[in-house]
Amino acid sequence: MDENKTVPMIQAKDLTVGYGDVVVLENLNFSIERGEVFVIIGGSGCGKSTILKHLIGLYEPMKGDILIKGESIVKADWEEKRRLMKSFGVLYQAGALFSALTIAENIALPMEEYTKYSEKEIMQHVNEKLKLVGLQGAGPKMPSELSGGMKKRAALARAMALDPEILFFDEPSTSLDPVTAAMLDRLILDLRDRLGTTMVIVTHDLDSIYAISDRVIMLDKEAKTIVARGKPSELRKSNPPPAVKEFLERAGLSRKMD
């Protein structure tokens, strides 16, 4: 455990990502500490979702390495990858619940696969997770019967099924009304405080950025790299490059209008 404290939770080294021959982002270097809420921001198409998929080991980078708790997920074979993946949960943009299974079955699936819990124990855990995200009694429903916000919460419950050390969020507040989005933000902070989970969030929702982030990195489409990093409030106060300023100010304007 002591060793884990010193090693950053996630570390990207000279990471270059892209599709085919097209480079999207080049030479990224950043690290994410244990218990941190790390936010990746940037305009549309800058590759922030792409970088997230690289972090969770879905895509193979063109160059560089990604270390999860000091172990490379890039060079890992399937079994090692599987072991690493067990330690994190991912909340996808649209929830990505298996539409063929009920909510309860969705949440139970990772437990069936990885734990030796009996069916009764699994049901107990499922209900616990559902309660955590405020979806008591939704277990027997099919994903299609739930609203967008409920789906997202159910997906969060599934992401947390194995009590992961890291939670990845891909644009959690997209397609949510402000109330639900705020509730999700509170939930994230609450989880971090209670369980010490490391959170990696990709978003362009400024409210969330200011409300929950410990540290942000901003990616830019043109520069193909990180154009700013630090606490969002500090970032705004310091003299950021124009693109960063624009990104952070536009929301500021709208807020002033309130």
């Binding site: 892209g18 599709y19 085919g20 021959d21 097209v22 998929k53 969770i56 080991g57 879905l58 895509y59 193979e60 399937w78 990858k81 599987r82 993946m85 067990k86 994190f88 949960g89 991912v90 996808y92 943009q93 649209a94 929830g95 990505a96 619940l97 298996f98 539409s99 063929a100 699936l109 990772p110 696969e113 990885y114 891909d170």
Partner: protein, 292 residues
């Protein structure tokens, strides 16, 4: 291994999109035409590699499933057996019956000229059992099951369910392909049995009502000509077709573009390539069976 296969495929698609913008075919120039041929050849080559890769992956998944039968998602398998098998029975029987009827009718017109009416039984029996039964059932299953598999998997891809599956530590091939493949391999030969019998009955209907061959004569002739070997050959063909249809359906689903249009394209492509592969495989197997 599986992840990289599917994901790198995804990347290729995006790259191709960027490249294909260059083509403007309204100018009658040789260069674009040549480039188009080149592009198509590369695509075809990649496609063949992908099909081989997915067959390899399926083989691995099947091997894993045989070693760990308890890990197979039997509930899904049964579901697909029901949907692709039992539900396809009426349409398969109907098409095979009509096929036998048409074949018998066409044959009777020609055979009657030579006074070889009874040979209608040979023609219908052999063509249905060796070729048309397995083939018709394969066509129906390519249309019903192959497209459904492709649409299902591509939809799952669009909604990131596949990604979720991978990050939850499930191999999509084991999780998604095996139940579909197993189900189709188990039900298509059964459908073919029905199709064969019904097809022969179709030919018999023509023989008995149009040519006036006594039903028992027609039956005996068919039983004499159609040997258990031929019947089994047809069923083996059918099982191979099932593997191809399921595999290509899943492959097209996995390589679909990440949008709603991609789902439709994947379903169409699954049917077209499914039928194409079935015919190629049929040619090969017909040749092989004639050798041994």
């Amino acid at each position: 291994m599986s992840i990289s296969l599917f994901m790198s495929e995804n990347k290729d698609k995006v790259g191709e999109n960027g490249a294909s913008g260059k083509f403007e075919l309204h100018e009658p120039q040789i260069r674009p035409a040549v480039e188009y041929v080149g592009e198509t050849s590369i695509h075809l080559w990649k496609d063949s590699i992908n099909i081989l890769a997915i067959i390899g992956e399926i083989a691995e998944a099947v091997w894993y499933a045989m070693k760990n039968p308890r890990k197979v998602r039997w509930r899904e398998t049964l579901y697909y057996m029901d949907v692709c098998g039992a539900d396809a029975l009426p349409i398969s029987c109907m098409i095979c019956f009509l096929m036998g009827l048409i074949l018998g009718f066409q044959a009777s017109l020609q055979m009657h000229k030579f006074g070889t009416d009874l040979y209608v039984a040979d023609l219908v029996g052999l063509s249905v059992v060796k070729e048309l039964g397995p083939m018709m059932v394969a066509m129906i299953c390519a249309g019903r099951a192959g497209s459904a598999f492709a649409a299902e998997i591509s939809t799952m891809k669009v909604s990131e369910e596949i990604d979720a599956m991978v990050t939850m530590g499930f191999q999509p091939s084991r999780f998604l392909i095996i139940p579909k493949l197993l189900a189709l391999v188990m039900v298509m030969p059964v459908l073919t049995i029905f199709g064969n019998v019904v097809g022969i009955i179709g030919g018999m209907t023509v023989g008995v009502y149009s040519l006036g061959i006594p039903i028992i004569t027609y039956f005996n002739r068919t039983a004499l000509i159609v040997t258990p070997r031929f019947f089994t050959e047809g069923l083996i063909k059918s099982a191979v077709f099932a593997v191809l249809i399921a595999a290509v359906g899943c492959l097209r689903g996995f390589e679909a573009k990440n949008d709603t249009h991609g789902v439709g394209a994947a379903a169409t492509s699954a049917v077209v390539s499914g039928i194409f592969l079935v015919i190629i495989a049929d040619t090969l197997m017909t040749y092989l069976f004639s050798r041994f």
